[in-house]
Amino acid sequence: MEYYRSHVLVCGGTGCTSSGSATLLKLLDEKLAEYGLEKEVKPIRTGCFGLCEAGPVVIVYPEGTFYSRVTPRDIDEIVSEHLLKGRVVKRLLHHAKQAETAVDLSLDEMPFYKHQTRVALRNCGVISPENIDEYLAFDGYKALEKCLLHMTPQEVTATVIASGLRGRGGGGFPTGIKWQLASKSESPVKYIICNADEGDPGAFMDRSVLEGDPHSVLEAMTIAGYAIGAHEGYIYVRAEYPIAVKRLEIAIEQAKGYGLLGENILESGFSFDIHIRLGAGAFVCGEETALMVSIEGRRGEPHPKPPFPAVKGLFDMPSNINNVETLANIPPIINKGPEWFRSMGTEKSPGTKVFALGGKINNTGLVEVPMGTPLRTVIYDIGGGIPGGKQFKAVQTGGPSGGCIPAELLDVPIEYDSLTAIGSMMGSGGMIVMDEDNCMVDIARFFLDFTVDESCGKCTPCRIGTKRMLEILDRIVSGKGEEGDIEKLEKLAETIKATALCGLGQTAPNPVLSTLRFFRHEYEAHIRDKKCPAHHCRALLEYVIGPDCRGCTACMKACPVGAITGEPKVVHHINPDKCIRCGACQTKCRFGAISRQ
């Protein structure tokens, strides 16, 4: 019997897999067999649903019931209650409180999904990524069919230009124009490259697309190949994404089996092949010129442009390089037309953008919203706000190349130009939320530490300049900042921006510049008053016992260095010279008497 009355979707993205979804699937199979339901209910491993915070996620269709944080112990109950008897297991529903009123809260009604528009993620968490038939059923490879059989390469490029799609890797360059440039280069051999070297800390948009919908990337690469006249493509994906790599391999194999990849695709006379190249995880290899030399097997170092890849790229041949998310937008644009795409987003930034929400936010996960959505909607309506009743301080976008956006600019619409105007950038889509406990100097230091680590060392401004900046920041957070440090940072930053060879170096000072712009007073407090306003930097911190102390001696016993003195039932005292600021006493105190100052 091929008809199943119910499909149980288990998230097989990296997040849920690491919290045990593979075990859940195995158990589910066993339990379904035990209750004799294996011919009625079908378990399916999908890509990421986006709400990683609630993982492992299990969704039961046709009801669309959303179970979160499912453990192996819960599987028996889901099978015996929901699947066998049709009674929803309420205690496992996401947002248990709302579930008391609604009989069962389905996916579309959840605030997390209600404000989203899923284009690039359209199939993630809906289809099985390891089954080409399911991709086909959701209009898969229809765009390829349309391009190869009914459109000229020029028409394909014109459609993409008309859609206004801009590079989702962060650059924001119009994708169609890029294709046009590459198509104009005369050469018998050209290449299409998919940049899947996602490296920003906390960003995982591309990984989710590759894991959840690998065929959309293959289809788009083939379309791009047809548009520019290339017959070979490379996917440069990092080796840290084993699930993505495995699903890509399966997808390529299946597409070849169906004749949707390889020689004479759909008997159109057009041939296209795709290879996978694994990156070793160097951040600089996400820069296109470095990425291409890495594919060639050489050391991943960037080189100046021009010549641009469209003229002289991989193996010195004209190449077109697009990011994963950009490519995932191509099939729907071809299928539904550029006007449909332009109906979402803003005039200059049409379409949607995927963001990886992380940091101090309730709903950690992956969201896709129309361009122009205010940051506030993403953080409060979709992200569910800041945990623990803390105050929102800033959001960092664009990773190590971007900047921080403070609370007063939360209503700025998200689009390429507006974010650049306030000193941040769209970037690839990492969004890290910070609350009152985050020290902005330390945040800048964290990102600079990252770029210093990841600098390839080819050009002096990036190799030495960022290192000098990091040294100054280290000094400031350890309480040894001097007058003039801020000015030195600014001068170094401007010099590096103007002279570094590639994007990594040119944008490396951005986290410092943007925190200086909006949180200059925090820098000044560190340097002049030797105080960290967020009470975060250890060297500038003092633990103090207040009058609420009952003298219970719990903190004395917890202190690993014996810095706390006092008699029972008398207010204790911390010796700041001995204290190592580990915070153990504060955690132990039951009366909230110990504070950080």
């Binding site: 009355r5 046709p62 049709g86 059923a137 490879y141």
Partner: protein, 126 residues
């Protein structure tokens, strides 16, 4: 190598199987089977299997089979509600696999409820 028509056939066939996952699906007819302890004891499982088999054999799309709990008339189990797209509901009682197949053929495919098995008819007789 698949031809265009073969690809289209795969699309249609797979769509039939996964239609219940489509967000914008047109729900069409819902078959709701009482699957509490009383229902199962009275033989609701083979009834459900018969519904599913019949739906599969006739390639009916937009028909979903779901379960519900006990609604209190345990003596009439297995009970089955057939809910049309417009929300109108017909309740069948004491269903067995043969009746199930007939309900699919007459009611769902041809639009004529099998009145002799409905709860109204049963109540009249009693």
């Amino acid at each position: 190598m698949k031809s265009l028509s073969e690809l289209e056939a795969i699309r249609q066939k797979t769509l039939e199987r996964i239609a219940l996952r489509k967000e914008d699906r047109d729900d069409g007819v819902r078959i709701v089977i009482g699957m509490a302890t009383c229902g199962i004891a009275a033989g609701a499982r083979p009834v459900m299997a018969a519904f599913m088999d019949e739906i599969d054999r006739r390639h009916l799309r937009n028909v979903t089979v779901t379960q519900t709990g006990c609604i209190g008339m345990c003596r009439l189990e297995p009970m089955v509600d057939v809910i049309a797209a417009d929300g109108s509901k017909v309740t069948y009682v004491k269903v067995n696999p043969e009746k199930a197949r007939m309900i699919v053929a007459d009611h769902i495919v041809n639009g004529h409820p099998v009145t002799e098995y409905t709860i109204g008819n049963y109540a009249d007789q009693a």
